[in-house]
Symmetry: D2
Subunit: 346 residues, 4 copies
């Protein structure tokens, strides 16, 4: 059994991690920490955990966590993660960080998009970007994982085969992404006040959303040269799910059968990637509740565009589920362990 | 491994059964049947099952099912269940029926509420009402289970301790129940057309909902004498969940601490029943996604009433989950096997 | 033209008042005040008011308001209303208060349910309970109106004919009411955080909701003797609308045709009351967007119960619309002026 | 008073037309027709019309309509409109058609996108595309109006100033549009069954949605040369509203201040167009319930893109409201008459 700690367990990603880990056959949750609810029981914050024996919520403390855990998931705000992780790392604990702090190869990129200097740039060299479909081998030997962002996961996987094979003009990429409100977290805000969001919708952060930089880093890596793309997030009046619609001009006449073949090849053997049959498109209900990404590929020959629609559950494949997938890889477990979740569908 | 068949697997309860059984360590799904989608794959109806190896959908046929299965779940419309079950039963297959056909002790009650003669009244004597909290012992040796209705489960468990201990005037019982739209099933109807239900709500079937008769049967049994009560269902603009608010006059001055003690005692050891602490009430999000019922008890001394609020997931504890719980009992498995589901919460 | 002021215009009831008054042919909005947004434009808080010429938001000040207005709507928190209204009243301005402060005949009732002494009990004698269907004559000559609560309006109108005509046992009344989230206001709270409410539902304030006391006051008045009843509010994952299901035992055998005749008689000529035909029930979509209350009456003879289902838009008939209806009466205008709103339906 | 008929009044656009026309000071509704509900009252289909005196629903008949009406709104399916309109037109009645049948200059375009020959191509020469912001002068003297589609209205107005002034590379245009479910109409379908859409979302009709051709026609006209663009619609789990996010590459370095100035100039005096201030974006709640389009303009210099976000209420500015706006123009009334609707906001 792997001894597990979660810092920031009372946030939505943290709570989802806990929910999933409690059903994981090799996970033994030994440490839970929360800035806001220290000393309380998890069930007093989330009554759905009633009746389940869990550690009392502790204060966030690297020392205590390192003693009790083989791996610590840090689901803390960016910046805050960066403070506690070096101590954890030094103690030899494996760390899977759900913030943006350890997702970058280049501390300058972090500074540009997050607005301040990275607090431990030397650790960035140790950390691995935790997207198994792209970096499985590196993840196996990593002890510090920067778990990808939610929009990021949905966008990168949608475009990776096209970029890798130079099939699209990378300057033409437009990603129009739509997310449920859980992505905005548990903190109260006007935009997630029920009557302000229900039956409404909005775009936000046009050209400035931090996840843009992650997508550019990973696609740029596949491209072998930097990429800059247009990314627009939208807030939906639902709880879970991200749907991204990605547009690009093919470099030569695109054929949907060939593209589908290519996607099938690229993701061959991937346990959590579904490529829709020709003419089919993914919907949120096909993935929400699961660790899957579902991808549909279209060619609009009339206007010379490839359009890719991709869906994930932002709290699972976009956060907690992918984090567990990374843990499974790091600890040499079956990669799908605890993650064979069928979407809720209804 | 238990070989399992589901008839009516493409309805919402059937699909949920399949989703849950695929995660059950002792379940081996060998037969799936659907009136409407014979010859198709489940994933063509519910794309969330993509990538999972499943039997092709067959026509509903007792003979074929009996050969392939140790137990068959019938998630067919009432009346239709009644036609196929006798043949299954004769073949020695265990049957767990999710329709209303085998929930009644008395065929006259069935006739009164369903409007026609029961097609196999002799089998009603063999069938057991599948509510483990009330009939666990009988279920153990049963081969034909009438799985309880959704409103029914939520209502009976809310009031059982009060009725059993003669603490309320049974003539004063009012149950005001609210259900998500999945309870109305997958069939298209005006009332469940998105724009007709979203942001709206209604009461329906006042005084005539068939689940009333189930509640009266089971509470009457606990009471030792017939009970007639007022039951009003409402349709909510959500997918899953039932919340029932039950009102009754106590026979003597009620004390909430005593009542909570009594509920605790009544449901002692029950794996799926949560009694809320004094002053707390259940919400749908505390149970949806799980097989739990959560119950909150209040006393309004000013107006001399006991008010009990209870919540379930209508597709799990109100249908598929309870059906699996019954299967576990019938087959001598751990009762919670495959059902240790934590509510989704977010 | 009537010169109109709104104090607390940035709350949901205040904003709805403004929206409706801008379409009222005799209303001239001259003064808007907000504690939180002084100095700003209404359109900066609610962008839907963009392009409409409106007074800048001022601080809440009786003196300033009295100079500019013939009538002031106070949509302030209870307690706060009580502080500013005496000064307005002294200045001779008509006041329509949407808080609970001037809804009571007896300051002791206020104290019991609101937890502190009423600050101007002498003014309670001047104020009239602004429910035109019950108090139209008194409203005509009033200068201070306590505008009824939302749950209250929906509940009182549902039961008034039965209580007035002594057709029900008043000790048997149970009101189970369900409200959209706008009733909880614009202030941020965990319970109205999108992901906490969406797809969920809860009961709250059992036996303690302040609107209970208003319902008891008005029904008691119709009864000619005090009434105590059981009232339970529920929070729905929708924006607008209240649906109340009221239960009572008839004093003698009830006949639905007779009851419907009686309701028709009681509400004869009422412009905003719809009595559903026999066998029909109101749904939220039949009233939301309008100033209507729609009422359906059922008899469940089997269990000797009368069940009344009633619906309103909590922000219109339950707040802003009824306030305008009161203004129309006070100023001798056509009662329906500015309120001939057809429900949104879709 | 203008005598008004609506054919297809029981569809969502038809019902919304009726709701709005009942509040229009110059409208007198004299004829209502419905294929499905002939002989019934509108209030039996939409109970929200209870208590309002309305003509009984008749069969769709040009003769009868022409006798009773000065203008007929045809809210019938495409193809069906094309059959009845020639007869209406010959009788001298003004016709405002909400289907796609009379929106095209070129019958070949109609054939390409609708799949069959236009039934009265000669009438296409008489019809005017009813978008007042582009064709007000022509509308004044028209007697047959092709009322624009919902996606169309939202998309064309978003891009018209950019195309008109040659500020974008028209080959780079991508429109990602999201619509509420009322756009899919009142007919039952799996995709709009409540449990299939609620909390989900999907893209559909990629590269094939008929509204694409309308957008291309109108923008091509402004461009002075044909345009082909990428248009992707999405279905949202809400009732009303369209939000379109449009992307294009500027032909020279774009400056947001200049662009906003240009938009302000282009739409100067337009009563229903709101241009958001710099840095602000429209949300559905800013327009739903009104006849407005709200437009926000962004420049993402880093990736050299102009991004325009636009919102409308699909049933009002996207259908019924714009139809009334056209009627007002045709009949020489104040263009805003009956349309001074403030968005619902809450």
């Amino acid at each position: 059994m792997i001894r597990i700690g979660i810092m920031g367990v009372t946030g939505y990603a943290g709570a989802e991690l806990l929910r999933l880990l409690l059903a994981h056959p090799q996970a033994h949750v030994t440490y839970l920490a929360s800035h806001s609810f220290e000393g309380k029981q998890m069930s007093s914050v989330y009554p759905g955990f009633a009746g389940i024996s869990l550690p009392t919520l502790e204060t966030v403390d690297a020392e205590a966590a390192a003693e009790k855990c083989d791996v610590v998931f840090t689901a803390l705000p960016h910046g805050v993660s960066g403070e506690v992780i070096p101590a954890l790392y030094k103690k030899g604990v494996a760390v899977i960080d759900l913030s943006g702090d350890f997702r970058y190869d280049d501390p300058e990129v972090y500074k540009t998009w997050y607005g301040f200097e990275h607090s431990s740039p030397e650790l960035l060299k140790e950390s691995v970007y935790g997207m198994p479909e792209l970096h499985r081998e590196k993840i196996k030997s990593a002890r510090l994982i920067g778990n990808p962002g939610c929009y990021t996961t949905c966008s990168i996987l949608a475009l990776a085969p096209l970029v890798k094979h130079r099939l699209i003009d990378v300057q033409s990429i437009v990603i129009d992404a739509k997310s449920g409100a859980s992505g905005a977290g548990r903190g109260l805000s006007e935009q997630t006040h029920f009557c302000e969001l229900d039956e409404s919708m909005k775009a936000y952060g046009i050209g400035t959303h931090r996840h843009t930089s992650e997508i550019e880093q990973e696609l740029g890596c596949l491209n072998g040269a930097p990429i800059q793309l247009s990314f627009t997030p939208h807030l939906l009046p639902i709880k879970r799910g991200i749907l991204a619609t990605s547009y690009a001009k093919p470099t030569s006449a695109a054929n949907v059968d060939e593209l589908l073949g290519l996607y099938g090849e690229f993701f061959k053997g991937e346990p959590f990637v579904t490529i829709c049959a020709k003419g089919k498109l993914p919907e949120l209900k096909h993935v929400v509740g699961s660790n899957r990404v579902s991808i549909g590929v279209c060619v609009d020959a009339r206007v010379n565009r490839v359009i890719v629609v991709s869906c994930i559950d932002n709290l699972i494949k976009g956060a907690a589920g992918q984090a567990i997938q990374n843990m499974n890889i790091v600890f040499g477990l079956e990669e799908t362990m605890g993650l064979e979740l069928i979407p809720w569908q209804i």
